[in-house]
């Protein structure tokens, strides 16, 4: 009797340390943040000393035009970045899905930008965008075109370009993997059925890649909402609030404005947004699996 009990508890005992670490490392900070978001909290105070203000932080943010502006910048940034990266990444994958000599070297080169630390990427692009000594303006000058105020008037476009440079490879790699796992014979059948290269892409390759593309897009979207370092280094949110994405605003609210409670509330808004996206992603996978299972059942009935 006693041994049976011990046997049943064994797995939980083995898992206990992991659970404890999870609780401390994951749930405690998260709870701390949620708890803090209900307080008027200055970094010089401990959380216990801070005044409890209920939903005040959330309500203030809801009506704060600067927060709206920041959210707008984030949404615009995420939308453009992800859509352009998807088109470029998938396009590149379709182009390079063939046996060329030196293909593996080429592929490794393509993913290099992804491997560089974001701060370095930010610094690199800041120098290239520099109004007088930057690569781009010197080039424009040398061919007789007017200079562009990259990190001024066109700051949002400029950070979008930098992000596209860094993260297109991610989509390229996943799309290439998806392409190479497509059923060869279905593509051969399409060639025999009379499909041109374009028709193969539109009617066969893209529809079959779609599940992978949707998940890839969602992953990129989640990342795009959280991007911080590159923009911090390049523009620090400026000029004005034109590139102040949410993550940056959160960090400034906490450090410059010394309003930890508001920063926590903002983080929670972002968390809810990302949670919705993640749930959408899981829901999509679940629906796919359920559909596949249902079809299999139907096939076995016949």
């Amino acid at each position: 009797m006693r041994t049976a009990m011990a046997n049943r508890l064994t797995p939980y005992m083995f898992m206990a340390p992991a659970v404890v670490i999870m609780a401390i490392a994951l749930l405690y900070p998260l709870g701390y943040m949620v708890w803090g978001s209900f307080r008027d909290w200055n970094p010089s105070q401990s959380i216990g000393e801070a005044e409890f203000v209920g939903l005040k932080n959330y309500i203030t943010l809801w009506g704060d035009p600067n927060f709206h502006e920041s959210l707008g910048v984030t949404l615009r940034f995420a939308f453009f970045v992800v859509s352009i990266e998807m088109v470029l990444g998938v396009g590149l994958a379709l182009l390079l899905d063939r046996d060329i000599r030196g293909m593996s070297v080429l592929r490794t080169m393509f993913i290099l930008p992804m491997m560089i630390a974001p701060v370095v990427v930010g610094l690199m692009w800041r120098y290239m965008y520099h109004p007088t000594i930057g690569t781009f303006n010197r080039f424009l000058e040398s061919i007789g075109l007017p200079k562009v105020d990259w990190l001024g008037d066109h700051a949002l476009t400029s950070i979008i370009i930098a992000d596209i440079w860094q993260w297109t490879p991610f989509i390229f790699i996943l799309s290439l993997a998806a392409l190479q796992s497509l059923p060869r014979s279905a593509l051969e059948a399409a060639r025999i059925d009379g499909a041109t290269g374009w028709q193969q892409i539109i009617h066969i390759k893209l529809p079959l890649m779609m599940p992978v593309l949707i998940v890839t897009g969602l992953l990129r979207l989640i990342d795009a909402f959280k991007v911080l370092e590159v923009i911090l280094v390049m523009t620090n949110g400026g000029p004005g609030l034109s590139t102040e994405i949410l993550a940056l605003r959160i960090s400034r609210t906490a450090t410059e404005f010394r309003e930890l409670g508001v920063a926590a509330a903002m983080s929670n808004y972002l968390l809810i947004l990302l949670l919705l996206l993640t749930v959408a992603m899981f829901a999509f996978t679940r629906i796919q699996e359920a559909r596949a299972a249902r079809l299999r059942m139907a096939a076995e009935d016949d």
């Binding site: 014979s185 051969e188 399409a190 025999i192 499909a195 139907a298």
Partner: protein, 362 residues
């Protein structure tokens, strides 16, 4: 319908040559089956005709016109793949009509065609299902229907039945035979299954090691194989081979080997007479060995039973003849004990002789 002519077709992958000058002529409305063990180059040949593999050397002529530089879509052909190669995201009707839609045919014509071929292969009630919701046999039918809908002059089949279970395979084989009678097209069919080859083909082409071994009607190949490979490949259970020597004694010609002496008759004896005391291989199909306890010793084999496989009305016995193994068929009602020695009469017309050095028929 077009004729196909393969002219000294050669295929190389890097330094490895896998086809060594395939020379083949296919007439109108002919059902040609390429058959051989895996790696013999039969699928490569088919894929070259389809345009899915490049031609290294030689040329493919369809109706006298060279086509090896053309894309698959410009070759007027339809193909059925081993794994069906259906488009998983399209339903049955869309799969069948894909080629017609790409060709921008008018919608009423497409609908009519889809209904016609779906009816022909018995898929009418599944038109709105996706391939994932179909059984193996149904998928095979969709692949067939898709090929039929194209109305091409040439039909290519790449081992279309080998993914089906044995019972379904037999059924689909029969349907395929009926279909080929109905549509009257030039068909090129690849299989490793000699039964498919024998039952479907107007003409069988046996391939081995990148060479055509022999081509002809199923009967020609079965009755007059030109070498040991063809003889052993066609027929089930396979032909038995016994090493021996031609021996002439007082006017009669014998094949003498370990544990047997068989007298040859008629044309066989005449053919063998020129090869006196030559080392040869004696080939006899199980169907040419008849259980007969009273058969004279010089017209029979004495076989020691090692294994008996019961397969219904007939049993297949694996026996020893000297040091060689011999398979025979026997009515299952005949009582047989393992280790027993039985006498089997050799059908004098069913004897095949092959040269031991180059394995060609004498």
């Amino acid at each position: 319908m077009p004729t196909i002519h393969l002219d000294k077709l050669i295929k190389r992958y890097g330094d490895v040559q896998v086809l060594h000058g395939i020379e083949l002529e296919m007439a109108d409305n002919e059902f040609t089956v390429l058959v051989g063990p895996s790696g013999c180059g039969k699928s490569t040949t088919l894929r070259m005709v389809a345009g899915l593999e490049d031609v290294s050397e030689g040329e493919i002529y369809v109706d006298g016109k060279p086509v090896s530089h053309l894309e698959p879509k410009d070759r007027d052909l339809a193909m059925v793949f081993q794994d069906y190669a259906l488009y998983p995201h399209m339903n049955v009707a869309q799969n069948i009509s894909f080629a017609l839609r790409l060709a921008k045919r008018p919608k009423p014509e497409i609908d009519a065609k889809v209904r016609e071929v779906a009816d022909m292969v018995g898929l009418t009630e599944f038109l709105h299902r996706k391939p994932g919701a179909l059984s193996g046999g149904q998928r095979q039918r969709v692949a067939m229907a898709r090929a039929l809908a194209k109305d091409s002059g040439i039909f290519l089949f790449d081992e279309p039945l080998s993914n089906l279970d044995a019972k379904l395979r037999g059924q689909m084989r029969a349907e395929l035979a009926v279909m080929s009678q109905r549509v009257q097209k030039n068909m090129l069919y690849v299989t490793h299954d000699q039964i498919e080859a024998m039952t479907l083909a107007d003409r069988i082409v046996v391939m081995h090691g990148g060479y055509i071994q022999q081509q002809g009607t199923p009967e020609e190949l079965f009755k007059r194989p030109i070498n040991k490979f063809v003889a052993g490949f066609l027929g089930s259970p396979p032909m038995n081979f016994l090493n021996g020597q031609i021996d002439e004694r007082s006017g009669a010609i014998y094949v003498v080997g370990d544990g047997f002496e068989v007298e040859l008759e008629g044309a066989k004896a005449d053919a063998a007479r020129q090869h006196s005391s030559k080392n040869i291989i004696l080939g006899v199909r199980p169907s040419d060995l008849r259980f007969d306890a009273d058969a004279p010793a010089n017209k029979s084999l004495s076989l020691n039973v090692m294994v008996s496989e019961y397969v219904g009305a007939q049993s297949v016995l694996l026996c020893k003849c000297g040091s060689a193994e011999v398979m025979v068929e026997l009515n299952s009602e005949t009582p047989v004990a393992l280790g027993q020695t039985l006498t089997f009469a050799v059908n004098p017309n069913g004897v095949h002789l092959f040269d031991q050095d180059n394995e060609t028929a004498l």
